[in-house]
Symmetry: D2
Subunit: 365 residues, 4 copies
């Protein structure tokens, strides 16, 4: 099988690096186009990231030789596309929200599908916000999106905020099994890599935590409702529940967002054992399709009293699984648990790649 | 004024060191008796803590010269008491709960009041569990306790778990102002000093957090009910509410426990401004009595978006104030906030000293 | 005694904040003038530092009310000076080296003495680079400096790089006692506060160290030679030795630079006991003059096997003492030891204040 | 090829876990025997390590089912050996030095070769202390060892201390290329995993470093001389140089020891470029034999100004390569550089496995 040539926008940033690294030996996709800010444009990817590469893992030598293009110049991508070098792009753009919105639309309008990590289009009515195991059927909005905008081949699909992925798959597994979830308290302890580089100042996290991350609580409370919503009448209609209260904190951890979650069920309330059974058995479309980036078990239950922990559990199953533990009754709601996932893999680049695999398998790429 | 000679049991441990350090220049109390495990007994306090002293602050040279006694041998304290060297003891004992229970009773029975930091007697019906700003009136149980046990001068008074002190004073200030609190979600991020030395292994908190602290959630959910209870019919009767759900985590912070709290009020619901007014104005018995260890303002409101933070706020007002911030509406309950206090000062030795000052001012010492 | 009104240039930055904090209750000096970048100018100091204040300790309320001036506008300081509000300035300017150089000269030319923390003028031949305990006699260059430049009241005095202060006082004490030091290996492990705020990215120091600090090794190898030099023929003539090799590392510590040092003596070689005797007995001009910021003992010897340590020793004696330990033979040179001092107090603002106290006591302010 | 059945002594400890993890899919060796303290004996390996497993990577399910034997009972290993379940053992024993010495001898005497990680036999004259890339020829002492002790099949081979492996391969590469090294200053910054679990207390490394590791400096100064020595007259004769001065520090890093090194050459002094050429080209016996655990390039040169760094470089080439950087002239000796290797892989279990591979390839196993 010939690999599909893909581009990465924002390729030199933190999430862009993670894309480049994860795609190194991907069986379906091959990075053949990289674009970033004008500052990096014209340099080889190797030179553009020299002294700025943040990951322990490295990139494919052939990507190091690629010349970085200016991400603002869509015509370069179109030319690459015509030359068979850019069938679609992963967007890891880091700029103003409005700028990203317009730029991603320009790529799509030019016939280049955009699988995005950015938050800009998360609340655009005809753009699906995908967690591949939770709402893969939301890709059905894409033909409507194309029609709405008069786009032919292009489209935009996004993924949600990184931190909600530490608990939304378990939450969805329960809902799907018939257990309505009415209300949900979440407190997150989030890794510094989530803020990019240089991101969080070391003076803020050596012997310290910061009980605030701008915009994060709002995202955590609202995005799940779109993800749990339904495609109806040409738009994605939000779910009515659960009602969510989120408190988001920054802690001195490199990678891995941890969440303490309390759930209030509707009338049908599962026992702890039933919850564990649901989570152990949970498999979804990515697993059925055997997508390359899909974890074998999307939810891993840790039985130890003190797990999951970021350093020990974030890398589970290619860093794509959600680890859960401490499943126990809640004194106020019904049950409590701790969820954890890798924020720059499952919650960012890895999740984006899985979305692209889903879109490819479903014929959109 | 002649200083009162006091003893410290468990003087070589982490909390014991904090007592010794904080009492260095105390205007009322003077450390003249130190006791610890048989291993330390017979050595000077200086030698017994050589290479084990954990604090940046040091101890009074005169304490360094004291010979450490065996804490199990109550007769030594009795002799010291008779020699005018030990009017009462602070207990920072670290041993099995049942052993501490019996040993503290032996001291009290021998006529030596015990102001304890240990958890052993927290649920003993006739023992007050004091936060000096919250339930100072619980000391009224002491005459009953003495009568119950046939003790003459001795008695036992304890303080609650360190982590609840990051939010119980603010919670009490609201209750006292007529705002009933029905339910309460709490997620704590606790400092490593709370586990003593060596305590938490560095492999557990470098690039990691641990979402579990043995016994801590149970204490956090139950102790507030006794503290908010009333002395009735010769015992302390627990309050009926609030119902509490607590999730306790260990984070890489030296000192300072942070808590994310959501409150559900009864019918009367304060506005954010009313809450701030209550907290700003709050003063209690320790402030009225101008106790030496009492913070001038028990509750300090931080208006910055990202405060309180452990490294910046734990030392506020002799490390005895509770700092609060991020006071905002909660999507599920009524309001949310972040509370923070110094766990080994406000939550341990400093709180114990304040309790002793209260007991002294009220004539019990 | 009426306090001397002083100004702080760069008052809103990290070192500026440390100046403001340390001068809170200074017996001689009172902050009555603050200046910073045009961005802060016109705001009250309180507003200009809201959400940017990095220290646990706070500032004097009266300073919070001061209106921040534009540091580039020397005429404002001159006006303040005439109004009795700015007898001299502490410079904690953060801008390009050449800009600082010119700006500090402008203040001095305008009759306002500059006691600087910046590196800009460290290598200006007629500017003294002072560690008050080591080369206080270098202030004798000031009349020459004034004459060279036609300045009347103004002058510039600077202090050296923060990290060398963890070992230069002990090194000087030995030299002064007649033990020539020929060569010296130094490896430093430096705190993140040394890089200001935001400074070092958290991704660089969570589960990591960085074995490089730009320019630091060069400063560490060269500055001691000027400090150990002599005022001769209207200039400061560098000392010929010791020859120094420095390796500087950034480690996850908030405050406190630690240095591992090996010394090769000349023909006269002290024993370990002689070294300890020299260091214990060492007192210098700031101690003789009883300057307010001077530590009682400039060098504190720790006898424990594993000290000094930054968290436990950096605050010794108002954070102005140098702590040393592990004094032992070196397999290659003669002796080895570990030195430690607080980089933003002893190594920055505290050292600057001590220099000003020295200059005041000697009649230059 | 049928895999060789191997045992791991001390299998439940930190290094033991690393052995079990690294051998998970080893092409030559298969773990079929595990032994630990009597406390673990009788349990399955899964149960014995439940809640104590420290690594992110896991073990082979079949190893989880193995019953842990008592490491003190050599007869159990002999029985396993006869049953084809234990051809040799990796020793990761954690007990007193004398106990380990005797126990390892008992295994060898019983015909079971011991490839050890422990320090007990490092200075036994007829026991080779191997870094496979540096002194593979020292295995020639094994026939002599067997003869000395009347052992038939058994023998003991050890590896040196973890921290010296961050620079000994580069040092050896230069020596082997004809550049005599006379003297060497080394300052290490060592990871907490080197102390095992629980090991270093978190209070010692949150906002702190510890400038002392018991016994480490002595090992660092002496072990290289044996490694660089020669098998002569039935014993390993130490090399006469380099003379080494080591200063060892503990820093808040999970894995990866970093070393700042200065080298003084003999008369023949390489240029920086020559050094880089030697290191880039260096390949040794493990590379020639294509041993499974051997890194392709034993020495990786980083050209960035601020590398190597533990978090980014420790995992290079299966965590078996040494990364070097900052190669530059030294103000006192000839050159300086920073070396880094993974302490529990290259410096412990991985190095032990590589030694076993070498011994197998050379016909000793």
């Amino acid at each position: 099988m010939q690999k599909i040539p893909v581009g990465v926008l924002g390729a030199t940033g933190m999430v862009g690096q993670q894309y480049i690294s994860l795609l190194r030996n991907h069986p379906w996709f091959e990075v053949t186009y990289v674009a970033a800010s004008p500052r990096s444009a014209g340099k080889s990817y190797r030179d553009a990231t020299a002294g700025r590469w943040q990951l322990a893992a490295s990139y494919h030598p052939a990507v190091g030789d690629l010349i970085v293009e200016d991400a603002n110049d869509v015509s370069r991508a179109v030319a690459a596309s015509k030359a068979g070098k850019c069938a679609f792009v992963f967007s890891a753009l880091e700029m103003g929200k409005d700028e990203i919105k317009k730029l991603e639309e320009s790529y799509a309008a030019a016939g280049i599908p955009v699988v995005s990590n950015a938050s800009a289009h998360r609340w655009t009515a005809d753009v699906p916000m995908l967690i591949a195991e939770v709402n893969p059927h939301h890709i059905d909005i894409i033909p409507i999106q194309r029609k709405n905008r008069g786009w032919d081949k292009g489209f935009i699909a996004v993924k949600p905020n990184c931190s909600i992925q530490s608990y939304m798959t378990p939450v969805w597994a329960l809902i799907q099994s018939g257990y309505e979830i009415r209300r949900m308290f979440v407190t997150t302890m989030q890794a510094v890599s989530g803020a990019g580089y240089p991101g969080v100042a070391s003076l803020d996290v050596v012997d310290n935590i910061v009980p605030y991350i701008g915009g994060e609580e709002e995202k955590s409370e609202q995005e799940p409702l779109k993800i749990l919503g339904e495609v109806r009448g040409g738009a994605i209609e939000n779910a009515a529940e659960p009602l969510i209260s989120a408190h988001c904190n920054r802690v001195p951890v490199v990678d891995g967002h941890t969440a303490c979650v309390s759930l209030e069920f509707g009338e049908k309330k599962p026992s702890i054992d039933e919850i564990k059974a649901v989570w152990s058995a949970f498999r979804a479309v990515p697993q059925e399709l055997e997508l390359p980036m899909a974890p074998a078990r999307p939810i891993i239950i840790r039985e130890e009293a003190d797990r999951p922990q970021p350093r020990k559990d974030r890398d589970a199953d290619k860093a794509m699984a959600v680890s859960v533990g401490r499943i126990r009754p809640c004194g106020i709601f019904d049950i409590r648990f701790v969820g954890l996932s890798h924020n720059t893999v499952r919650g960012a680049a890895g999740g984006g790649i899985l979305n692209a695999e889903l879109l490819k398998a479903k014929g959109y790429l």
